[in-house]
């Protein structure tokens, strides 16, 4: 299967509708139950295991109107991004001389978490877990992250900030399942801690400053576009008395859609 097409199908409503005989937004996981391949979930947090149990597909889980991704698809997107980060950090840590001293300590901690995220999500998805894509972190020769430390940290920042926004973009898709939603929020906050630290190591603020890509190459602008907004549910974050206008956009992170997250990740996926 062409991995890019598979990933792009996350936001393909045609595919979602085709999975369901009645055209309702039924979770695609239910399509696999007759295959009897629901993976062992002993190591998965209880709520996720219950979600995967066959008898859990009921009216509540099928009432999923509005967002375009089902919970399964939201997790599949998350896993793909986690594969990317995990592989990226593993390769960096294996590159002789690239990461030393405190850099190494910090990236090792991030890597540990991404590794854990991959395991958790792959376990939760079981038979629905997409295979790990083949990555090219040079983006076809544009970058040299494992020989140039500055490039490594720039891409790390891009990946972490993308991850934060991507998880945020999927949160509403998980509103039907409290355990999945909570788990996603718990991953999301950790990615934000990563992003903050990587940004600060690069001499940036830990928080995103408007749509400023912080010295990243132009190809990374998509990671930050949309972060400049100041209207939060009708409240103007840039006009709070006594507070600098710039702090408004800083104080809220913005979601990105599955499509945007996919297009960013796709720069580094070759198969």
């Amino acid at each position: 299967m062409n991995i890019l097409k598979f990933i792009e199908s996350f936001t393909n409503e045609g595919m979602i509708n085709s999975l369901s005989a009645k055209g309702s937004r039924r979770d695609s996981l239910s399509q696999f139950q007759n295959m009897g391949k629901v993976a062992a979930v002993a190591a998965v947090p209880l709520g996720l295991a219950a979600f995967l149990a066959p008898n859990k597909v009921n009216a509540k889980n099928t009432m999923f109107f509005g967002p375009t991704e089902t919970p399964t698809e939201a997790l599949q997107l998350a896993l793909t991004l986690e594969y990317l980060e995990d592989e990226f950090y593993d390769m960096a840590l294996s590159s002789p001389g690239l990461l030393t001293g405190t850099d190494r300590t910090i990236i090792a901690q991030i890597s540990k978490h991404e590794n854990a995220h991959v395991a958790l999500l792959a376990n939760a998805l079981g038979a629905n877990a997409p295979a790990k894509p083949t990555f090219d972190f040079t983006a076809d020769g544009a970058f040299d992250p494992f020989n140039d430390l500055e490039t490594f940290f720039a891409l790390a920042q891009a990946f972490e900030d993308t991850g934060v926004r991507a998880y945020k973009g999927q949160a509403a898709n998980l509103i039907s399942n409290g355990d999945l939603l909570t788990t996603a929020l718990q991953i999301h906050s950790v990615e934000a801690m990563h992003a903050s630290q990587v940004r600060r190591l690069r001499g940036q603020k830990g928080w995103i400053v408007g749509s400023d890509r912080g010295g990243l190459p132009a190809a990374a602008q998509a990671v930050y576009t949309g972060e400049e907004v100041t209207n939060q549910a009708g409240f103007n974050t840039a006009t709070v008395s006594g507070i600098p206008a710039q702090a408004g956009p800083e104080s809220f992170d913005e979601p990105i859609t599955g499509a945007t997250a996919t297009s960013i990740a796709s720069l580094f996926i070759v198969g």
């Binding site: 901690q109 409290g178 939603l181 906050s189 934000a192 990563h194 409240f235 600098p244 702090a247 809220f252």
Partner: protein
């Protein structure tokens, strides 16, 4: 010096409630009781709704989505107040270096914005002013705002608690728009936590340490509102009594 944000209580009705719940002792209890309407202050037995508001002399955060918003508003009030005191401290300039001052000033800015956001959001959905959580009173006891370690460790506690609170409250939100808004804020709180943690222990794994992120699953903390309220109450910083009988 930064302007200290002052919460103004707007209406006579809400001011009466504020006075009753702030713990201020007024000479002559009659002054407090005068003007109470008979349907005020029903307590948990007399009023079946879960709107935020005063019950039995204490403000209850309420239940449902509005309860979660009010809960978030309370926590942001706490953080905003703390950082207001930090950046307005007499020794701010000498206690913290330039990088630290920038971080703490940003945190002050962000938490004030968050606080004002929730105040506006709640005000936009409530039907009367007495459903709005008033300005809470805070007291930091013996905490010295000119002690770098005390300030940063308190900041770390507040940020870690905020992250755990938002992560744990998400599942109780039923309106997708509110969930997205909470989601937009929690990642910023996590960025804060990471920054404070790295100021305390630079060059280490503490920015996302094993004390707040599980090693086997890479998950941050998620606590229920009742758990957070217990933890925050133990800090003995919020002086205004309040209840949260309708939040899990």
């Amino acid at each position: 010096m930064k302007k200290v944000q002052v919460e103004e209580v707007k209406s006579l009705h809400s001011r009466r409630n504020f006075l009753r719940i702030s713990g201020i002792t007024l000479a002559g209890a009659g002054l407090v009781m005068a003007g109470c309407s008979s349907d005020d202050d029903k307590g948990s037995n007399g009023n079946s709704n879960q709107l935020p508001g005063v019950r039995d002399g204490k403000f209850d955060l309420g239940g449902g989505d509005l309860g979660v918003l009010t809960y978030a508003y309370a926590l942001e009030q706490l953080e905003a107040d703390f950082y207001t005191r930090v950046v307005n401290g007499n020794s701010f300039g000498s206690t913290f270096n330039a990088e630290e001052r920038e971080v703490l000033e940003d945190l002050y800015n962000h938490e004030v914005i968050h606080r004002e956001f929730f105040k506006a959001a709640i005000s936009g959905v409530i039907s009367s002013q007495d459903q709005l959580l008033p300005a809470l009173q805070f007291d930091y006891g013996s905490l010295s705002f000119s002690n770098r370690t005390q300030v940063l460790t308190t900041a770390r506690t507040l940020e870690d608690t905020g992250v755990a609170a938002y992560n744990g409250a998400g599942r109780y939100i039923t309106t997708p728009d509110y969930l997205v808004l909470a989601g937009k804020i929690v990642s910023v709180e996590a960025r804060h936590a990471s920054a404070i943690r790295s100021l305390l222990n630079p060059g280490t794994a503490a920015f996302a340490g094993d004390d707040v992120v599980t090693s086997d699953t890479g998950l941050g903390q998620a606590l229920k509102p009742s758990q957070v309220i217990t933890a925050v109450s133990a800090l003995e910083i919020i002086k205004t009594p309040f209840t949260a009988q309708f939040l899990p």
